[in-house]
């Protein structure tokens, strides 16, 4: 196997790891936005999930309890978002922004009060975290050319949450396109009056959507602190929620295209990490900071209709009143 191919494989492996929180948050964003609720609070919910997961996993020693607690905490924020946007018909962007800032403040404040480590949680031991899962026959298949290394590096060896994230994509697509709930959800984001006049509660439907978004963001947060990382660090979501939102738009609010967008954005991040300090022919030192801006630039171009056209759910951002 050539050195380049091996490097590429490692980069793809990193892509999957970097894309996992994006995928989870993007699915969250799709549920919320498809129901007509703008969700810029993916970031805050994920951050909250990350903190709670680390804190609970540290205290209880169980990563699974950590994930559950993260989902619960993230859902609490999601319900606050719902209470503001659905029940009180508040501005959805403002509410999302408030939740992001609240999450920044709360995680650090509670973190300091609990652990006195400047807002971090203590580093987690290996049993408190999700560890890579070695698949069957990895060693046996090593001998197989091409597939062997791919199987070892790319398919095997991730933690449980990565596989869960990947599984959640077809599940989301199934929910959205094959079930009663999905039909109603898609309808309520387009013409809420149609749903209302069919005798279905718009508010209940939207609450369920934002709660699902909360659950998914919670898992994403847990992945950051007890899957990928080993403990909570202040502001560790670092804009990933916004990149996920970008992926939602780039994927035109559909699960599979959004997954591809997440993988693309993850790949860009993996490549730029790999190119750090590398001299490229013609360009000189790789402008990795600028590469990191590519997802944002691409979304702007999509929104402006320069690459395809993204039309959001028709009723997005508008509070429903009879």
């Amino acid at each position: 196997m050539s050195e380049f191919a091996y490097q590429l494989l490692l980069t793809l492996d990193a892509t999957l790891r970097l894309a996992t929180p994006l995928i989870l948050c993007a699915m969250a964003g799709i549920f919320s936005e498809r129901s007509g609720i703008i969700d810029i609070s993916l970031e805050g919910k994920m951050l909250m999930g990350a903190f709670v997961a680390a804190a609970v996993a540290f205290t209880s020693g169980s990563p699974w309890l950590g994930v559950l607690a993260a989902m619960l905490a993230s859902v609490v924020l999601a319900v606050v978002h719902g209470f503001a946007c659905i029940t009180h018909r508040g501005n959805q962007v403002v509410s999302g922004l408030a939740i992001n800032i609240l999450a920044s403040g709360l995680t650090v404040t509670i973190g300091i009060a609990l652990f006195r480590q400047g807002g971090q949680t203590p580093p987690l031991g290996s049993t408190d975290r999700f560890r890579p899962i070695e698949w069957w026959l990895v060693d046996a298949l090593d001998a197989v050319p091409i597939f062997g290394p791919i199987y070892r590096e790319l398919i095997s060896g991730h933690n449980m949450l990565v596989y869960i994230a990947l599984f959640l994509v077809p599940l989301s697509a199934f929910l959205l396109y094959r079930t009663r709930f999905g039909l109603r959800l898609r309808a309520v984001g387009e013409v809420p009056k149609a749903v209302d006049s069919a005798g279905i509660s718009v508010s209940f439907l939207r609450y369920r959507a934002v709660i699902i978004a909360g659950l998914l963001c919670g898992i994403a947060g847990a992945y950051l602190s007890i899957g990928q990382g080993a403990g909570f660090v202040k502001e560790m979501s670092a804009g990933k929620g916004y990149i996920a939102l970008a992926a939602v738009i780039f994927g035109k609010w559909r699960p599979v295209p959004a997954l591809l967008a997440c993988l693309l954005f993850g790949f860009l991040e993996a490549v730029s990490a790999r190119l750090q300090g590398v001299d490229l022919p013609l360009i000189g030192e790789a402008p990795t900071q600028l590469m990191l801006a590519l997802p944002y630039v691409m979304v702007v171009l999509v929104l402006a209709g320069f690459i395809g056209k993204a039309s959001p759910p028709a009723a997005i951002g508008q509070p429903y009143s009879k």
């Binding site: 309808a187 387009e190 509660s201």
Partner: protein, 523 residues
Amino acid sequence: MMTDKDMKDGRDGAHSFALKLNGISKSFGAVRANRDISLDVRAGSIHGIVGENGAGKSTLMNIIFGLQTADSGDMQVFGQLASIRSSADAIGLGVGMVHQHFMLVPNMSVLDNVMLGTEGGYLLAEGREQTLEKLKQLSSEYGMGVDPFALIEDLPVGIRQRVEIIKAIKGGARILILDEPTGVLTPGEAKQLFDILRSLRDDGVTVLLITHKLEEIMAITDHVSIMRDGEMVAHRETAATNPQELARLMVGRDVLLSVEKEPASPREVKLRVSGLGCSSRAGNRLLKDVSFELRAGEILGIAGVAGNGQTELLEILSGMRTVDDGSIKLLDQTIDADNALSPYNLRELGVAHIPEDRHEHGLVLSFEAQENAILGYHNDPGYVRGMVMDKDAVLERCETLMKDHDVRPPNPSLHASNFSGGNQQKIVIGREVDRNPEILLVGQPTRGVDVGAIEFIHKQLIRLRDEGCAILLVSVELEEILSLSDRVMVMNEGEIVGIVDQTEASQERVGMMMAGIGSDAAA
């Protein structure tokens, strides 16, 4: 107001009633939209509810369908006392509704839309076959053929309405409410709709038809109830009444508004439209080969069912929409696809515009009256010095306007939203007419305006005409067109059906033309 005879017609007899309302009232703030309304609807009949815009028909239907809750009163559905607090309750009791603005999701298929709310299982696959079967059955029974896999946004309005009806019937509706169903239909589509409604009735479905069009009531209903100002004023058997009586009951005043005016003395041509055409963004032809002339000192009225190109014509002439085909010679300017004039340019030339919808276009409701009094004229050197507004001049302008046009209350600092419909309209009209425009474009001048203000507004238009202004008047109120215009131009499906002199324009003839039957054939 309600005589014993009226009561007997509507409420006696041993028939079974699909729906019985008793003392329904509903207020929105200070507006009493429904006052003590009682209504009996016989099972298996087509029952019309007729009344002017704003009479409270839609509110009443929303209450029956559970979209709004009555403040007081009770309701019986098929003999059972019903408490309908949501549309789910209504649907559960067998009440279905076809809304004026369709409740369909444009980017979903007919099938998805029909299934919404009655999916038949958690997985869509479970109810899918059944729904397709039902669609097939309904299309053969009532002649409502629809492609289940077509997207709603690709279907014409008439078919979309069918999907609404199918949706309601599939949801188990035994009482079907239709709110102004023909407002958006062509005469042909309307006829098909009526055939469907008749066959539904013959199958035992009770139909409640809300409309303000008397000919529809006469054509299809078995019974009719008349609403005025939030009250139910009479019930009639359709066979035992006539349009004149209904009209009198609806408006409570003489139908033919007599506007005193001298015969017009038209002078030079101010506006010449030749071969004008335009399309919607989706590519539908909105105006086709429209040509006419407008002279100084005359009122040219445009009659037609709403949505037949009148709005687009006004928009083009006022500079809010661009020309696709043909040209306009306006004063000494030429407007065509290559030469556009903005609303601002046109105002400077002396073209004033009273828009059809004062809330959408004519006013900024959250602004004070004085800020609205200069809307569109805010570049005028009289109100602005350099970049800075001249507050005193604006205030003075508004005070004059309020005095001249009898705007009440005459308070320039009051927000536009706090004036009544009539007074809001007076602000708009005052603003537009006070500069003695050469051409005045008028859309629905008296929509949602009280009787006193209507008279005042009509007199203003006549005065302007006599002073030599060229007036183009669009109104869906045929009486208004007939009593104000010197010539009547009739539009249908974006085309001019014909132009007739006022002396030859009778209700019947113009009505025929509105349905698309040419002036020659009608004469």
